[in-house]
Every structure is written in C-alpha cells, then in structure tokens.
Symmetry: C2
Subunit: 362 residues, 2 copies
Amino acid sequence: MSLEITFLGTGSAYPSPSRGASALVLRREGQCWLFDCGEGTQTQLMRSHLRAGRITKIFITHLHGDHFFGLPGLLCTLSLQSNPDASKAPVDIYGPLGIRSFLWRSLELSHSQLLFPITVHELVPTRDQCPAEEFKDFSSLDRGEEIPRGPPGRVLHLDPEEDSYLLVEEEQLVVRAFRLFHRVPSFGFVMEEKPRPGKLNVQKLKDLGIQPGPSYGKLKSGTAIVLENGATVSPWDVLESPIPGRKICVLGDCSGTVGSGAERLCRGADVLVHEATLGDGQTDKARQHGHSTPGTAAELARRCRAKRLVLTHFSQRYRPAGQAGDGDSDVTELKRQAEARLDGQEVTLAEDFMTIEIPMKR
Amino acid sequence: MSLEITFLGTGSAYPSPSRGASALVLRREGQCWLFDCGEGTQTQLMRSHLRAGRITKIFITHLHGDHFFGLPGLLCTLSLQSNPDASKAPVDIYGPLGIRSFLWRSLELSHSQLLFPITVHELVPTRDQCPAEEFKDFSSLDRGEEIPRGPPGRVLHLDPEEDSYLLVEEEQLVVRAFRLFHRVPSFGFVMEEKPRPGKLNVQKLKDLGIQPGPSYGKLKSGTAIVLENGATVSPWDVLESPIPGRKICVLGDCSGTVGSGAERLCRGADVLVHEATLGDGQTDKARQHGHSTPGTAAELARRCRAKRLVLTHFSQRYRPAGQAGDGDSDVTELKRQAEARLDGQEVTLAEDFMTIEIPMKR
C-alpha cells in the first residue's frame, strides 16, 4: 500500500512565489490528508499531481495565518467542483480551539454553502504551550452556532496519562496529536499504521499437515482453525512476528515540545517533518519567535531515533537550491547543520512539490 | 501625473495557476489602491512590478471568497514587512457590511497584531441588490468589538438623491460607489479626478498688459489679481476651459445595475472595468449566477459612452490567449462579442499582470 508525502508549501510567515505557505499532503490508499493550509494551498494543489477532491481529512497545527488562511477558499473551491451527494462522508477538520469560529464566520460572511458536509474537531490547548501573555481563550466563540451541513465535531482534551490527543482510530491506523511550544499553542500530529500480521511460516504449516487453501487465509487474517484430528491451530502458532506499520510525524511551528507526548509518540518515526525557520547561527532569534533551527530539529529526531528527518518552513530568505540569487542565504547550510547533530545521518530539505515515498515494511 | 491599472487576478470563482482570483491595483502618484483581494493576491503582488507597501486604500466589491479571502493574509504580510510607525496614516478599507467582522475575527483568531493602523468603512447595501432569499443582514455582527490599532471607520449609507455612496473626497479626486445586482450585494467604484484649471490664454494676458511673473501663477491657481490701474482680473477672464480629470470605474460581479447610480457615475469613463464571466452564448446561465457576458458589459459601456471597456473575471475555462490548450475555450471570442455591440470600438481583455496607462488630458 503506497504512502507518500507531498510538500505544497515550505516557506515561513507568508506565501511567496518560491515557497508557498505551509501545507503538505499525506496520501495513503488514494485518500489525501492535508496538514496545514496556508493561503494559496488550493493553487499549489492545482500545480501538483494531487487531486484536491481526494482530501478527506485536514489537520491544522496552529492558528497563525500562514498555516490556515487558505482553508475557507479551499473548501469553497472543493464545493464548486463537487456534486451534491447526501451520502458523502464529511471532511473532518482538526485544529486548535478557534478554528471552528474562523471557518464558520468566513463561510457565513462569504455566503458560502458547501455542497458536502464538514465536521470540525477542536483541540483544547494547555496554557503552557505558549508564553502566558500570548494565550487567548477562544472557548466561548460562536458556541451557539453550528457549521451548516455537517455533524457536530468533538472538543478534544489532552489525555494526561498519554500526554496526547486521540484524533482518529481506524482499523488500520491511529492519529494522535501532541503538544508543542510556540508563540501560540501549536500541535504535532502522528499517523501510525497498526502492525500487520506476520507471514505464514510454511514449514510449521507443513509440519501440522495443513494444506494450502482456505485455512491459510483464515490463519493469516487472525482466525484459529480446527484440524480434522480435533486439534485447534491458533494464528500465533504459524505466523511470524507482526510487521510494524509506518509512522509519520508532522510538527507545527515550535521552539520545543511540551510534556512527554512528542518524544513518546515520535519514537522510531519513519519520517519526522520538523520546522527549521532559521539557521543554527540565529538560535536566539529563532527561539524568541517560537521557532526552531536545524539543531533543535535534529536534537528531537536523535532523541526519538527517527529514521528520516525532513526540514521545512524555511525563512523566505532561503530560496530553493536551484533558484538562489547572490543575496540569498544558502539553504543547504541548514541540511549540514542538522546532519552534524545526527552523526552524518542524511537529512532532507523540503521543497514545494517534493514527494517522499515511504515504503511498506516487510 | 501617471495613472495606471494593473490586473493581479482576472479569473472567476477561485484562483488558478493561469488566472489569479480578483484583484487589481490603481496606481496614482506612487500610491496604490487595491480593488478586491482574492486569495493569493499578496503573492501576485510579489510577482508584479508593484510594491505592496504602497497600498493605502483597499476596496472590496462584494463578499464572495474569491474577492476578499486574501485580505487578512495581505495585511499580516504588510505588517511583517513594515516597521512600527505611530505616525503612519491608517490603511483605509472599504467594503460591504460584514467585511469588518471578517477581518476582526481573522486577525483575532490568528493572533495578529498589525504594526500599522487600519480603518474599515462599511457600505450598507440595499435589499434589492440580490435575490431576496440570498440577502443576509450582518449589521449586528461583532458590533461591540473594535478592530485593534485603528480609528473607527464609517458606516456608509446610500445617498438616495445621488444614488451613490461618497467614500473619499480629496483635493484632487473623489471616489464614489454605486449599486450592482449579484447573488449577493455587490458594488462598483468610481475614482474621478477633479478638473484642473485650463491653460492661461497668453493673448488675453498680453491684451490686459499683464507680464509673465508671479501674477501668472496666481491666476493659474485660481486667485484674482488687481492691476496697477485698479482693475481686477479674475482667473475666468484669462484661463481656457478647465481640463477634465480622468475617470476609472471598477465594477464588482453583477448581472446588472441597481438604480441610476452606475450609469450616472460611469458616464464618459476613461476606463470601465467590467466582468464577463461567460460568453454571450451562455447569457441565461450567467444571469442565473448573477454574472455578465461581454454583451451585458458592452451594453453598459455603450450607455455610459465609456472610452475604453476592459473585460475581466473570466471563467477559469478561458486560459490566457498564449496558454490555451485544445480543450480550452477561446477568450478572444469574448472580445469579439463585446466589440460587436460597440460598433467595433476596441475592447481589452484583461490578463494577470497586464498594465494599462491612462494618460492625462491636455
């Protein structure tokens, strides 16, 4: 089953012609999940190989404009390009408390009536996710008004034991959020596939006298079978170890993590997407603005033993490698800074429209 | 004094890579006035020869997303790129009632504190500017909350005698709005320069015995002078007819006008920018969606005796002339349809980044 990430916007602060505002798509089994939706994301989608109509879930890391101002426009365009279909499942939108009010007000004031349902689930941040003076309580905004044409969403509170938020649990995967520290409360998201059953051990099956056929399928799918001699064979008797699923972590803007959720959830990530707004030489400035450098990102990747670190959300002064002019900063320097902290493990610099495939484990 | 219009977005409904969402800039004496601000306008500005920091006024024709969803992002980016300056004049924003609530909510929820003041002036539409069932009353939204860091704006009601709204009156120019009919209330804007004094009639001055010098300047600027013989010479005695100013009309989406304002205010326009979403062959469909065809636009231009009609806001199916593929509609057909109604008078098709200069009259 293919799994890939496509970056649609890799610039910080605002969209520019060389780097769009934050957005990336995780595509799995034909479904697209959008992480962040800065202004211009719908146009970046049109420029990419992806089909916006395949978006079924949207995750917003935090409420800075360059991460969510593109959301109303994207939804309106999706609606224009869709047909009314009463049976269509809602597009689920997850984001910090306040995202619902923004969407509701934008759709209401623009006289937009979406032709498909949306459901907005809001994550309630904790006060330690930003400087005390920056914290705003949006819990009472527009509470009386429901977004038209969508079932009500959930209000998600931190599970203090797990130090995380459970967003999605499906047969094959789980999505959780964890807390980050930024100028405003920010979140990271982890999509983790559940382990698949291991391979059938053909030698063991032969030893038990089980012939290839329907019994193999039952055992593989986790069902015990009874032999002609009355003995029961459990899947565990004939299956190799389960094959782990893939784990993708996408972090919002941050100068660090809050609590233990990030480190626990990102452990062994196949891909860790982390912001690196400025170079290590500007660590103080980055931290002051709630941002990371390659060093910050690599440090988390090292602690989590992430298999691949991808840096994104670069200051607009870093042009893509091929487009840099004389006065521009050299983005490859950020790569070197991160790799230095990871004993040379290769680090990837995201660019708009770059796609990374994550192969299944075997 | 130079005066030019630059189109930043000429597509309808949503921004695409070939046509941005609605936006155009009127540049006069170094100041930029933005008309509409669809999603992506800030990026289109970066791609153009214009400097976003020169924007002093913004006019929004109506509250459909493709005409104003780019506004919060543009303001946030302008703020990021500006220095705090307590003496800076506010950026004036004019738009239909509701625009203030949208802006306020977007800035509040995105934790944005602009480094320059803005003042939002709201035009109160009349109920006959859209189908009765589409009309929404936004008069009570967020009334208690003032937009941070800006003096309060005006609430502008229709002047029933003039059938227009007076927005700006400066020494050299006046801006008025007039009513249009669309799916939601829509407005057109007219920027008209005041007439300049005519040339001095040198022969008459000689006949009166007035020598070149300070007297010439006084008379030219409209001040009477007293001759040595005690006679008073009025400017009217020695000036040619006043030289008319230029008149630029920018209309929002519409299937027609409401009242007499449009026709009166647009009379003799040097440039009339009118939407033409679909071709004349789809007049019924266009009207049903509150839109115009080249025929609708040309008909108004003809009645107003506009000197130059510019069509814009094309359905995204019309690619720019040089970029059209086999399956695309031919945009030049729209030009021919409009010209046919104007006895062959040349009509201009707007394209993104096209600039039109409007010379001073002499």
